[in-house]
Every structure is written in structure tokens, then in C-alpha cells.
Amino acid sequence: MEYADAVNIVREKVEELSNCSNLSEETQLIGDGSVMDSMKLVELCLALEDEATEVGFEFDWTSESAMSRARSMFRTVGSLATEYAAQSEK
């Protein structure tokens, strides 16, 4: 999966769950200024897992640094899309 495709998927899911529109790759998903709370973040993970299953790969959202503002894949739409695209190639 190309990064741009992953961004579109993640952005679309985040927009659905957050009721926000016109989100960018820099949109924060955790911490101050995030458009998501932890509950929505779990729902996002489940939605991305379902999407991954449909296209034939397994999305593992567990991470040692899930809540780290510096290293988490959930920092932004872009960082999550990077991880999602990478896992689709495994």
C-alpha cells in the first residue's frame, strides 16, 4: 500500500470518528490538541483492523510507545499512515 493511500484511509476514518473535516497529515491523534480521545483511538484501531482484513493484511496496533508524544505511531494522521502502509507490506 502506498503512503498516500494509507493517509487517505486513516484521514477518512479519523474524520468519521471525530466529526472533524479537512484533516491533514499533521493532525494530532494523541495529547493536547488531539481531535481524538482514547476511546475514539481504540475505535480507530478497530476500524483500521477491519479495513486491513478486507484488503488482506493484519494490522497490529499494539506498541511499546503507543502513548508517547515523541515516538508513538498515533502522533498524527501521517505517522499512523506510515505505520499502516509499512504493515501492509509485511
Partner: protein, 226 residues
Amino acid sequence: MTVIITGASRGLGAAIAERLISNGNDVFGIARNADQLLYDSVSCDVSSYESLKAVAKRLRQEKREITGLVNAAGIAAMNLALTTTEASTQKILQTNLAGTIYCCQHFAPLMIRRGAGAIINFSTIAVAIGLKGESIYAASKAGVEGFSRSFAREVSDFGLRVNCIAPGPIDTDLLNGVSDEQIQRIVAQQVITTQHTKDDICDLIEVLLDPRSNSLSGQVLHVGGA
């Protein structure tokens, strides 16, 4: 509508599965050796994160409607901490504590997807009374209680309830090697000083699985009182 039961081949797990099935529930059993189970089940060691992940994936792909999870798998050592081997210590912690956590991690999302579900974990009276000769077992179950209280808050907004049942001595394999005198000493420390049965535990399981228990989460229920 399926209830997942771990430790389903023996002891409390087997009794709970039998009770739920006899009352018309669909049960999915997990046991280290599930070959002899006559209902839908899988052989899987709850201490294996990856094995449980595969089971959860299977259930998700089958689109099973999971309504409950009963984490009944557990082992005990009946040994002093000072005379327990490292291997035994690891096995108790891995099965009782990590196994419970892994099952919750893998199976809770199946219930989150449907917006409701009840998780029932097992503790023990050994935690409340600081039972001598069971310190490692008690430590693993104290961990289960702590995990359950916190996890209950983490999944509450998704409609999931998480509670613990903490029985006194129940007549199962776990009591092998424990004398009647020892059992009576433990029972004497309960509020209700009679030894309870598998049936009492099954009754409580049915109560906690029932949607009428929707106001109950994050609790440790001591069977017999402690």
C-alpha cells in the same frame, strides 16, 4: 451470542461451560487440551499471547457475536514462596495473571465491536486473607484484581463490564493436596462459614453475564464474603 470460557476442560471452567450450555447458551471453550470437549472449542494455552491472538482472529473472521468472557484458567502451587522454583513461579504468574490479561486484550475488541459484553476474571480468597502457603498464587490473583479494576475503566465507555469473582476453597483439582483441616481453617475466615460449591460459582457467573448486572463493574465479589 457466544460466551468464551478459558480453562474449559476442568474444574470451574468445565462446570461453568456445562451450566451455560445446559441453560441454552452458546459457549466457546479454550483449554490446553480441548480434544475431549463436546462443544465448539480450541486447544490453546492462555499463557501464549500469539496463540490467543490467532484464536481471536478466527472468531473475528467467523463474525462470532461474543457476549462474555470468563477467564477461569488458573493454576496453583500450594507451596511456600521460599521453596517455590523459578519455573513454577513463572508458570503461575504467566498463566494466572498474564493469561487473564492476554485474553482480555484479544477478546475485548470482539465485544467492543458490538458495544456490550461482560468479562469475568477469577481471583481468590487467598488475596483478601493473605493465605499462608499461597503467596505466589495470591500475588498472581492480586494482580488480576488490580488489572480488572483498571481495565474496567478503560473499556467502560464501550459498554463492557469487568468484574472478579474471588471464591474461597471450591472442590476442584486446585485443592488437591490441601487437607480438610486446612480448608476448614480458610472457610472459617469467610463471612459465611460454609464451603461453597461449583454451583454457587455458576450461579454468580450467570448473574454477572446477565444484562441486569449492567450497573456492576470493577468489582471483586467474594463468594462467602471476606
